[in-house]
């Protein structure tokens, strides 16, 4: 019986090659995560309602501007608490380079915001002021996107 020759079908897609010695090729890789905000979810729900939700320890009273559901100081459960919408710049930087995802947004200015009577800080961006004019202690107020994306960038700050 004659042996039938078996062949894998050829395809036309090729490979991007950058270099031959050594051989360097393009290797594409991407993925979608099914990301859950889990216990942090109420914070993101708050952003869509124009609220900044922090947390307060039910045992020791420590107040977190960036929420967490258990206290870092004593381990007790925290409860949700509405933060004031005005605060001060604790520190800042203007980024002229960055990660690929944000490269087209440069330069942008990051700030850590401090709120009166709250023990920890909150990372955000400030706009509406020349990059070189932002300074520590500067009063800022929160603004919210009208169309929420359920990302921490739904809130940003402007000079108060």
């Amino acid at each position: 019986m004659a042996e039938e020759k078996v062949k894998l079908p050829e395809t036309e897609e090729g490979t991007t090659v950058y270099n031959l010695d050594p051989i360097i090729i393009k290797y594409h890789y991407e993925m979608n995560y099914i990301h859950s905000y889990a216990q942090d979810s109420p914070f993101f729900a708050g952003l869509s309602k124009g609220k900044l939700m922090g947390s307060k320890c039910t045992a020791c009273g420590y107040k977190y501007a960036t929420p967490r559901s258990h206290c870092m100081e004593c381990g007790a459960k925290t409860e949700w608490m509405e933060l004031p919408l005005e605060g001060k710049v604790h520190t800042f930087t203007t980024c002229y380079f960055g990660s690929e995802e944000f490269l087209d947004q440069t330069p942008f200015t990051l700030i850590l915001v401090e709120f009166e009577g709250v023990n920890t800080l909150f990372l955000s961006r400030v706009i509406g002021i020349e990059h070189g004019k932002v300074h520590i202690g500067m009063p800022v107020k929160a603004e919210f996107l009208r169309l929420s994306k359920f990302k921490p960038t739904d809130v940003y700050f402007v000079p108060a």
């Binding site: 960036t66 947004q105 700030i111």
Partner: protein, 417 residues
């Protein structure tokens, strides 16, 4: 705890890109160098390993550690990976120390690597920034240079640290590197050069920041008995310490400074600590390592330090965490020349991360190798010149640090008898 010695080390030259070698071959090169340096050591005598690499994203290979293990011919001996961001190398070194100290092994090889050139720099920044809270921090503009820039802005505000003082760190480390053939960016710089290089994140310029790189490093640790068989110039690891802090800078509390023996509460009466201007984990790591080594005044009792200068600013902040000077005096410490080769305690005589590069998993082990050669007095042999040899170096510290101070490992090495 049994005494633990370092008996050999090897390091590849860190390069921006080494496409001709993958991570296995780079480790093999560093490993072979270390093996050649102690000819009495055979593969059979190695009891096990610890692998150090930071990011599976960069490697595009999960379980890369086991591929190194088989490439080196060390299967089926025990091995594992440790990971802690930028401090991975320092943590790996200490994991190998634990293996020997506990009596589990008599010879343990710590190997580390990173191949960061396999993605472009912007993508690499993204991978590194994923080592920040992905709910609250990364999406706002995740960028580590930005995070460190915010920290030093606050350091400048609290203590009056200047960008010129930061530039002096860059000048010192790139200058030291002129005598280190392993360093990828030896440079003679001026303050003007540093300040006029491209602004990355105010106030940090390109010359305030280390370079993502490809590279590998290996440290061989041994028990006292095995060390005596392998080398007549062993280096004893007399102290190890590790510290941590919250991932989010936003969460860093305002409390009191954990004091070192030579400090008093009066030094810091009005200082809110660590805030975001200092690395509490670095202080904790130093305190623990000093206690184990019996060091009460690090400036007087250390002959040199190889520390994690991913940023010029973090070198200044780290002088303070390590107690080389008081909190707030870091800027003046470098300005007055105390950290220079001829200074009180040469810091980063190798050129550090700023000039050698920062292939994350290899970096902390590179520091161990350079410190080991310093304490052996073999800088001439390994670097081809002795310009960087710290005269009569008897005791040195290595300091490995992860993102904004989350994990920090400090180890103290001492010339063996």
């Amino acid at each position: 705890m049994r005494p633990v010695y370092m008996v050999s080390g090897g390091v590849t030259k860190f390069r921006k890109a080494s496409p001709d070698k993958d991570f296995r071959l780079m480790v093999k090169e560093a490993f072979d160098y270390a093996m050649r340096d102690v000819p009495n050591l055979t593969l059979e005598m190695i009891d096990g390993t610890v692998a150090s690499y930071f990011s599976d994203h960069f490697t595009r290979q999960l379980m890369a550690g086991i591929m190194v293990q088989d490439y080196l011919g060390l299967c089926p001996k025990p091995g594992k990976r440790v990971e802690g961001g930028g401090a991975t190398g320092g943590l790996c070194f200490q994991a190998a120390w634990e293996a020997i100290s506990s009596g589990r092994m008599d010879v343990c090889v710590a190997y580390g690597f990173e191949t960061m050139s396999r993605v472009n720099t912007w993508k690499g920044n993204e991978f590194i920034a994923l080592a920040s809270d992905t709910n609250f921090d990364y999406p706002v503009g995740g960028f580590y240079s930005g995070y460190y820039a915010m920290m030093v802005q606050r350091h400048m505000y609290e203590f009056g640290t200047t960008v010129e003082q930061m530039a002096m760190v860059s000048i010192k480390n790139h200058g030291n590197a002129i005598h280190n053939p392993y360093a990828q960016s030896p440079m003679k710089l001026t303050v003007e050069d540093v300040r006029s290089s491209p602004m990355v994140a105010t106030p940090l310029t390109l010359l305030d920041i280390c370079t993502m790189s490809d590279g590998a490093a290996v440290a061989v640790l041994a028990s006292e008995e095995m060390a005596a068989k392998l080398t007549d110039r062993p280096v004893k690891i007399v102290g190890v310490g590790t510290g941590t802090d919250a991932m989010r800078m936003s969460d860093r509390p305002h409390g009191k400074v954990p004091l070192l023996p030579h400090e008093s509460p009066d030094d810091y009466r009005n200082l809110k600590y660590p805030g975001i201007h200092s690395f509490r984990g670095g202080r904790m790591a130093s305190k623990l390592a000093y206690e184990m080594a019996g060091i009460t005044n690090p400036l007087e009792e250390l002959d040199f330090v190889e520390l994690h200068d991913a940023y010029t600013s973090s070198e200044i902040q780290t002088y303070e965490d390590m107690g080389l000077c008081k909190y707030g005096e870091g800027g003046r410490f470098v300005e007055e020349g105390h950290a220079s080769l001829e200074g009180k305690v040469p810091v980063n005589p190798s050129g550090g991360l700023l000039a050698c590069g920062h292939p994350v998993g290899a970096t902390g082990l590179m520091q161990a190798v350079f410190a080991f050669w310093q304490l052996q007095g073999t800088i001439q042999k390994h670097l081809g010149n002795d310009r960087l040899q710290v005269k009569n170096a008897r005791r040195g510290a290595i300091h490995s640090h992860a993102g904004t101070g989350t994990y920090i490992a400090v180890s103290i090495l001492e010339r063996g008898s």
